[in-house]
Amino acid sequence: MNRRKLLGGLLAGASVPTLAACSGGVTSLKGDGSGGEGGGSSAGGLVIGTANFTENQLLGYLYAEALRGAGVKTSVRPNLGSREIVIPALRQGDIDLLPEYQGNLLLHFDDKAPQTQAGDLQNALTVALPTGLEALSYAAAEDKDVFCVTRETADKYGLRSFTDLKKQNGKLVFGGPAEDKNRVVGLVGLKNRYGVTFKEFKALDASGPLVKGALKKGDVDVANLFSTDPDIEANGWVILADPKALIPAQHIVPVIRSAKADTKVRKALAKLGVALTTHELARLNKLVDKDKKDPDEVAANWAADHGLTKK
């Protein structure tokens, strides 16, 4: 075991300097050269990373367009992986900017955080984010976790909200990303706040093809999806209501390394945030997911249409 680590370490050590030269773009552990004191500077350009679902990539390209319109150089690294992969990358400096979601981001750093309202969440984030990272102004658009059932299931068991689930304790199957098992915005919270338990939990993905396929097939009864996912409307799935406010607000919020956050960047992203409503985001998602348009093209067109960039 030691040997393998040594080998890996040797290889890594040998590769880093050589590859930093030829890999172009993202270099690793050294971080960036620009300042770090107070102001921050975007002079060297920003690397925007995005997580492994299409909406996040769309947001990444939208950020790139907004920043481009403000004269900031950016490059987008799409589809890097789940939050567990991209957040450490952000902290290490492998990427500079990430589109995130208030509620889940806060819970990632403080899983006991009680805030549920957008303003409170933003303040809590300022406290909870580690040094060197910052949450900029949040957008009007929101994409929340929602727990859905098919119309048939809703009618069969009379399910309209989370409280109704309690009557079916131990009988239904829940599907979502693996982390839902231990999350407050997941099985743990459902049990503690609503007293709901399930027969089985299936670790699938976050509003991706696996969990949606399972819901369609009937392999799961309740699925954790994202509110802006066009498939919810397309399939007539029912979003269960959350009267006790278990699921926090999830406005889109740019998370950036403070060293790169200067006034130009802040203003450009805030301008984007004002223009991007939930309705618009859902519409763009549909273009990418259903109509199979390229996310970078969709983002560029939208940005030009909304005056963020010149045509």
């Binding site: 567990e84 992969i85 990303p177 693996a178 982390e179 670790a203 093809p209 097939k217």
Partner: protein
């Protein structure tokens, strides 16, 4: 580092970890099931093909280059393609694993048959044996060592690749790798990886023993492909 290894040791040996629907016992059995079934199906397809090509000498080009093609085929791509075509089922897993194993078995089977000394074949025919007798009583027994090697190689590769079952929501040891990442539990990821390696090595050793037992008196073969 030490702490990680200690935690790993605890994870691998704790009773709680072994029981239940997500327990090591369940996942091991699932993984074994996927691997053995895929290897058997692959052998069922590949052995006749390899034997036929080796026996008739026709299609040798295919046999030699098939393993190269199999090696070049990206498993992730194939899994995704079959998933998009067939939805949430085990088809993506089995199609990809069989596609991985068939070329290896074909190439090694062919190599085994091709390595049979033509003089021995002639001698057998000279003794009056008919074609199928030559095949069954002379060629296959002589080619068996390399055929077995092919089966061993295929089995090992299939075991290591069966982690993709978790990528399309099913079980097996790959679950620990994917879920461990999602739950930020590095010990789980490591545990999954270690268990796959152990399973692959254990199966390889088991098959090697079978091979040794069967061919006690034969010279050791060299690997092909």
């Amino acid at each position: 580092m030490i702490e990680l290894l200690q935690n790993l040791g605890r994870w691998l040996t704790s009773g709680a970890q072994w029981s239940g629907p997500d327990g090591i016992a369940t996942r091991l059995l699932e993984h074994l099931q996927y691997s053995l079934l895929a290897t058997l199906v692959a052998a069922f397809i590949a052995l006749p093909v390899g034997l036929l090509i080796g026996h008739t000498g026709r299609g040798a080009f295919l046999a030699i280059n098939l393993s190269g093609f199999g090696r070049a085929l990206p498993t992730v791509g194939l899994v995704t393609l079959v998933f998009l075509a067939s939805g949430l089922s085990m088809w993506p897993v089995y199609v990809s694993l069989v596609a991985l194993a068939v070329p290896v078995i074909v190439t090694n089977t062919y190599a085994g048959m091709a390595a049979v000394d033509p003089e021995v074949r002639d001698a057998a025919r000279g003794q009056g044996m008919r074609r199928h007798q030559v095949l069954l009583q002379v060629e296959i027994p002589l080619a068996l060592p390399l055929i077995m090697t092919g089966l061993r190689l295929a089995c090992t590769q299939v075991v290591a690749t069966a982690t993709i079952a978790a990528y399309v929501s099913f079980g097996g040891l790959g679950r620990y790798v994917f879920d461990g990442l999602a739950q930020r539990d590095l010990v789980q990821v490591l545990g999954g990886a270690v268990l796959v390696a152990i399973l692959a090595i254990a199966l390889d050793l088991a098959l090697a023993s079978v091979q040794r037992l069967l061919f006690r008196h034969r010279p050791r073969p060299s690997r092909a492909a």
